[in-house]
């Protein structure tokens, strides 16, 4: 059915505690009981798969690693079967940067993503959502992943970058190659990276003599800490990052939220009756269905939550698992729309806090508000099948709904 089936298959997991695999179909389908089992066993578990990889299972262990940039590097942020040689043209600063390079690279990207900047972008996102809903509302049902959630972030990011919203399918193909297929197939990964770089190089070239009012021109005009313009490799790396990090992730968060509301009528009715609850509800949905798992590479031997950690291994930095830790979140497996205390880590912790967090929140809020306004009643289509993406970003890729 899916193209992931043609990839090298990993042997099925029989011992999650000593041999976990986040690409196993059971993890993809329902990771929550697996995380509970691992957390009960140890704050940090290990697998020999992926050339050696740790998984912190508690909020505290995830937090320790996220804050420890001395022992853990971000130079590889996705756990894969292989570790392709690091090359400057494949870096995506600042997500793949460590101190001291990280801070200046990140500060360049932060101003266009503040909450105020997002308020200005909001009307365009509201219009995108309504255009999409217009396309299927008369049908009485749709695959909300294919017709709605998938298109909102990609069109929003295209709008910000100043590239054609009509190129969305191209971007979605690259992202799938990088985040899913590329876990087990390096050739697919490298090809997608090259195609993206060529695509963005063309857009940079076009702006050299005709600057535009968009993020590409903003980055081309940015100056580093020495007052110098960024080289094209840096600009292209950052553009690739914005595209890859900003699309699958929010697509997943909106989709998981709709999936939850489709199967939880009480929460759906409550959100409609109490629209003022939306900001708190969005944070809770982010906690319960955090889409993004990052990675680190162990650079020096250290101890995390009492567990020895050795270089040569990767770390699967599971913010989603941290957010289900009952030691930090009472009733962690329950969605509590008005949860008062919610230090969730959906956007990471420490210096790599997601640059697009304000964008993602705004997109989620607007996408849920517009959907609930126009389609207040909906449920999962019992004849259809919900499928979830595999690996680094988890969210519904088929979401058949009836309304």
């Amino acid at each position: 059915m899916s193209d992931t089936e043609s990839l090298p298959q990993h042997p099925p997991v029989t011992d999650w505690i000593h041999d976990f695999d986040h690409t196993d179909p059971r993890w993809t389908e329902n990771p929550f009981p697996i995380w509970d089992e691992l957390r009960a066993a140890s704050p940090v578990v290990h697998t020999d798969r992926f050339l050696g990889c740790y998984l912190p299972t508690t909020y505290e262990a995830v937090r320790e690693i996220a804050h420890d940039t001395e022992h853990f590097s971000s130079r590889r942020v996705i756990v894969r079967d292989e570790r392709p040689e690091l090359q400057k043209q494949n870096a995506a600063p600042p997500i793949t940067s460590d101190p001291p390079d990280h801070k200046p690279a990140k500060q360049l990207l932060l101003p266009p993503f503040t909450p105020d900047a997002m308020t200005k972008l909001e009307p365009r996102v509201r219009a995108i959502c309504n255009e999409l809903i217009d396309g299927f509302i008369a049908d009485g049902g749709c695959d909300a992943a294919a017709r709605y959630t998938k298109h909102i972030p990609v069109r929003t990011i295209a709008h910000m970058l100043g590239i054609p919203e009509a190129d969305s399918d191209l971007f979605i193909g690259w992202i799938h190659a990088i985040l899913e297929l590329g876990i087990k197939n390096v050739a697919v990964l490298i090809q997608a990276m090259q195609e993206m770089s060529t695509y963005f190089a063309g857009h940079i070239e076009a702006r050299r003599n005709n600057p535009t009012d968009d993020l590409i021109s903003y980055l081309m005009n940015a100056r580093d800490k020495n007052g110098q313009p960024l080289d094209d490799t840096h600009v292209i790396g950052s553009l690739r990052l914005i595209l890859v990090a900003g699309i699958d992730t929010t697509w997943s968060a909106i989709g998981a939220s709709l999936w939850h509301l489709a199967r939880t009528p009480a929460d759906r009715k409550r959100l409609i009756a109490e629209p003022g609850l939306m900001p708190t509800a969005v944070e809770e949905l982010l906690r319960a269905y955090s889409p993004v798992t990052m990675a680190r590479e162990v650079m020096q031997e250290t101890v995390v939550s009492g567990c020895p950690v050795k270089p040569g291994n990767m770390v699967l930095l599971s913010f989603p698992a941290a957010n289900r830790d009952p030691a930090v979140f009472p009733d962690a497996d329950k969605v509590v729309l008005d949860r008062k205390e919610n230090r969730h880590a959906a956007f990471g912790l420490g210096i790599h806090r997601c640059i697009g967090s304000n964008l993602a929140r705004m997109e989620m809020t607007v996408a849920l508000e517009e959907w609930l306004k126009r389609i207040p009643q909906f449920r999962l289509d019992p004849a259809g099948q919900v499928t979830w993406s595999q690996g680094t970003v988890r969210g519904p890729r088929q979401l058949p709904l009836l309304f």
Binding site: L110, T114, P115, K340, R343, R353
Partner: protein, 69 residues
Amino acid sequence: MPGQLKIHVDPDKCQGHARCKALAPELFQLDEYGNAHEDGDGVVPAGLEDKAYLARANCPEFAIEVTET
């Protein structure tokens, strides 16, 4: 005056999650990078005490201090 609260954002801990600004916009300001600091001298106006504690309870970086003056 007993019970008056003062807030402070530790700039070394703040990573710009901006949860405080969303929950208590009267008490926090964001800089051009989206990092937070307390509004003015950090004294919490009467009636906003709950918001100060709510902001502290939702900061993922434990960057907000609330003290009684």
